[in-house]
Every structure is written in structure tokens, then in C-alpha cells.
Subunit: 151 residues, 2 copies
Amino acid sequence: MRDRYFEDWAVGERLETASVVLTEEQIVAFAREFDPQPFHVDPDAAGASMFGRLIASGWHTTAVTMRLLVDSGLFGVRGAVGLGVDGLRWTKPVYPGDTLSVVAEVLEKRATPDKPSGVLHVRMTTRNQRGEDVMTQTAAILALRREFAQP
Amino acid sequence: MRDRYFEDWAVGERLETASVVLTEEQIVAFAREFDPQPFHVDPDAAGASMFGRLIASGWHTTAVTMRLLVDSGLFGVRGAVGLGVDGLRWTKPVYPGDTLSVVAEVLEKRATPDKPSGVLHVRMTTRNQRGEDVMTQTAAILALRREFAQP
């Protein structure tokens, strides 16, 4: 993975990550640890819920989305720091066996003179194997400026 | 844990969860799986970063926050469905050994006649052992209305 600085991001830039399958085992394991609601951990209770079957925790979808983005190299070898997220929407359920991938689009970048980092606004859309958006969000990300980087 | 319906939520209601310690092992394990950036997984690289030491992935903080809220009983035994989040801000780093707890405040509730669920807006503030806010967010949550509940 290469280094990547604020200057390397371009407004309008668009990246599509690799994809990953979410298994029932992974969905249940994540939810047992972090979101043990019946429709995430118990197939019988999930069957009686409005979803009709197990669905992934929305926080599992955010975590898997982050992993796909990190692996894509978008944040570079040193990483980039998330300041916050707006417009996070879980638009479709994620079911066991679904394959997720992410599209990232750079909406805006802003730097202040003398500040070592600039702020990027990036829209991230997580999709399933049917091309449906399952989650959307717009993140504010802090990225180091090249001239302030230490060797 | 008791059942809990849309009607059981009151605007202005405020709940404080139990607390939990995040260990270095947990922070590194979560980040290795979901957010393997150097300042989350590698103590040496983290020491050279702007943080000076390991910090938790922001997505780990969201996941732990969810667990504290579920365990508090706020969502009831059947659970409640997250539609989305706005204003998610990671306002302070979370370090190994930090103790987190969450305050939830009901801002607004809205139901539409004949719809089986209503929408709640809940502000969630995650704090550390020094009383500092480390993360804030406002969630939109779908909760079943009592008259539509199946026995």
C-alpha cells in the first residue's frame, strides 16, 4: 500500500472496493458481542420479526464497510482519521450470504493554511450483490498534508 | 428485560447505561478485523502518530455504545430497528483502559396513523471515565406500536 496525503485526493474521485461475503456465523458472532437483539442473533425470533429472517447489525455493516475501504488503499499506509459521519442510513437489510462492496466518492476538500491536516468529505455507499444500496453515509476525514509529513 | 413499545418512549426521557472498560486486547482485535490502520493495531506506529499511543477505531466505539444501549433495556426484549444516524462525531480519542458509558435522550417521536411502527429521534452521548464526551450521535429508531404487537 502506498502513502497518501491530502493533496492526493481529488474532488470527484471515485473508488470501488473489493467485495466480501457476510456469513451467518459472522453476523451472529458480531451481534452476540455488540448488538444482541433477537433479529440479529436468534434465527427463530428473526423469523417472527418484520424481516422474516436473520439480518446483520447495522454496526456490523459499518465495520465491514470500513475494512473494505482500508483494504482498498484509499486512506494510504499511514491511515486517515475519521472526524464524523452524517446521513448514515441503513436503506436495506443485509442478510446472511450477502456480498458487500463500497463505492467512495470525494465530494469536497478543505485545507486551512498552516494546519498540518485538511478535511475531506467522502460519500460512501455500501451495496449488495444485487446492486442495491444497503447503507449510505458521508464522512468527514482528516488527512495529513504532504509538506507536514515526517519522513 | 421487559417489552417496550413506541408508546413507552417519552420525549425528554433520559437514560444512562452501565459502563464498560475497553482493553488494549479488545481494541487491537476489533481493529485487526475491521479497521487495521496503524494507530489502531500497532503500538509503535501509534506512538509516532498524532495520537502518541493506540486509540480505538471509531467503529469500535459505535459498536460498544450499541451494546451498552441494548443491555440497558432501552430497546426492549424484541429490539428496535435503527433507520439511520446524523451528527455522528468522534470528539475525543478512546484509549486502552478507558471506561465508556452512554447517555440516551429522547428528542422527538412521530407516528403515522395505520403504520405499525413510529419513529424516535434519540441523542446518544458516549463518555469516558473523566466525564468527557468521546462520541455523539442522533439516531432515528423504528419502534413497534403496542396495538400492532403480536402476542
